[in-house]
Symmetry: C2
DNA sequence: CGCGTCGTTGAATCGCTTCAATACGCGTGG
DNA sequence: CCACGCGTATTGAAGCGATTCAACGACGCG
């Protein structure tokens, strides 16, 4: 990372409020205690009882919940610039697991440090709260996705959502993005079987909308894909929320 | 309502922390500006741009989102003691609608009043934050419900969740509760067709697990129903979160 | 009384799952 | 170096769960 201004978190927050140098400086201080983890090593598996939060600075992670019957529901994939375990700082220990999908890099911080940073700077606190609230809106949208759309629409919507999220942090655009997920990941996230994910991906490819192959998502026809998925990005829109 | 101690909100928060008289007093003051609304009159339909929140004190309400294609996903049903539009106070205007299912009674408060109350009393603020975080956990559980369970399991889980929520505010128990929802409501919440909801309800009845008829849910065999639905109420458990 | 909402049931259909088999790339160890 | 195993992707075929369309009964209300 060349400078803090280019960190994914800074990029993401910048889309919400223009940050000052002082604020960049605070963000920088939050990134001191860095750690690398690889797939297979759970960052936390039963809920963050210790009061630590992580800022993900590189790699993909998923938060999931296992059911007694062996099913596995992925609640969200987290990408650079996202917080991990933020909620547990504010209050409640989350009851889902968090697992790296790729090699990842995180900055660990104690709850107190974060709260301290917030008290130093109100605007920064608001910006982070905005991010948290956006996360929540994404879960709701995920619910709608699973509840109301069929397999191909779900996939289309999903791929578009991550396109937007990744674009925000500078590692994606309307032509596509690198995506380390397997079809099994998609299946667990979308409540489908892996076999059917495969078929649905093929449909999207054959319709000329989007291609997901070899760890890359390529938007073959972005506008048609948006129309097909009825993708309305307001729920993760940067312009949306008002600073109070 | 005989006294503030018996208000649904007070009952709910009491399960989290024992409230003092002073705290009951603050809660009481929040309930001054009361309003009654009936079904058909949306409380807000496009997002709470004004900074007001409501405490629901009687009746059922649902929060939903409509899709361009005409589908209708119910995100959550809100029951007495729940906040409506709480998130929008903290930050972001919600982009879902809120619609009464029964005649309801709400107390309207301005964002400032709530924040003022919070600053007066830290424990109360924490208790309300706990409630908000519990709401979020319910959305996640809803996601899992839709993503991983079949129709009968979904229904079973749903009916149990509301059993727990209603028990907390004193209008339900392990034998059952009054439930004003139609099968269409259930269908929209669970991502099923109304016809299939009907069939699934019949199955649950014939299995001797639970009966949903004439506006009442009767648990015919609570323990077996819990086992059948794999219902694990920790996500809305009162004992769960820690006061910090 | 007649109409609208809600609940119920049947029959046909379709989307998705499941089971099964094959293929490919990659890393490991013989 | 190649054989083997493992994870991932792909495709077919059979079966089931849920949807859709349709019809009808019950109830409450103007």
């Amino acid at each position: 990372m060349t400078s803090i201004e280019d960190s994914p978190l800074a990029l993401k927050l910048s889309s919400f409020v223009a940050l000052t140098d002082a604020e960049f400086e605070i963000l920088h201080k939050l990134h001191l205690r860095r750690r690398s983890v690889g797939p297979g090593q759970d960052l936390l598996d039963q809920g963050q009882t210790d009061g630590s939060v992580y800022i993900l600075s590189a790699g993909w992670v998923c938060s999931y919940k296992d059911l007694p019957n062996g099913d596995h529901q992925i609640i969200d994939f987290r990408i650079p610039g996202d917080f991990l375990g933020l909620r547990s700082v504010l209050l409640r220990t989350s009851d889902y697991g968090i697992e790296p999908i790729t090699d990842i890099e995180v900055s660990e911080l104690r709850a107190e440090e974060l709260l301290e940073a917030f008290s130093q700077n109100q605007r920064l606190a608001t910006a982070v709260l905005w991010a948290a609230s956006r996360d929540e809106a994404m879960v709701v949208e995920h619910l709608i996705n699973i509840g109301q759309r069929n397999a191909t629409e779900r996939l289309a919507h999903f791929l578009l959502e991550f396109g937007s999220r990744l674009t925000l942090i500078g590692i994606g655009n309307k032509t596509g993005y690198e995506c380390p997920l397997t079809q099994y990941h998609l299946a667990d996230a979308l409540g489908l079987s892996a076999v059917h994910v495969n078929r649905a991906l093929r449909q999207l490819r054959e319709k000329g909308l989007v291609t997901f192959q070899n760890g890359r998502v390529d938007f073959d026809n972005y506008d048609n894909l948006v129309a097909f998925a009825e993708f309305d990005p307001i729920y993760l829109d940067h312009k949306g929320p008002l600073l109070r």
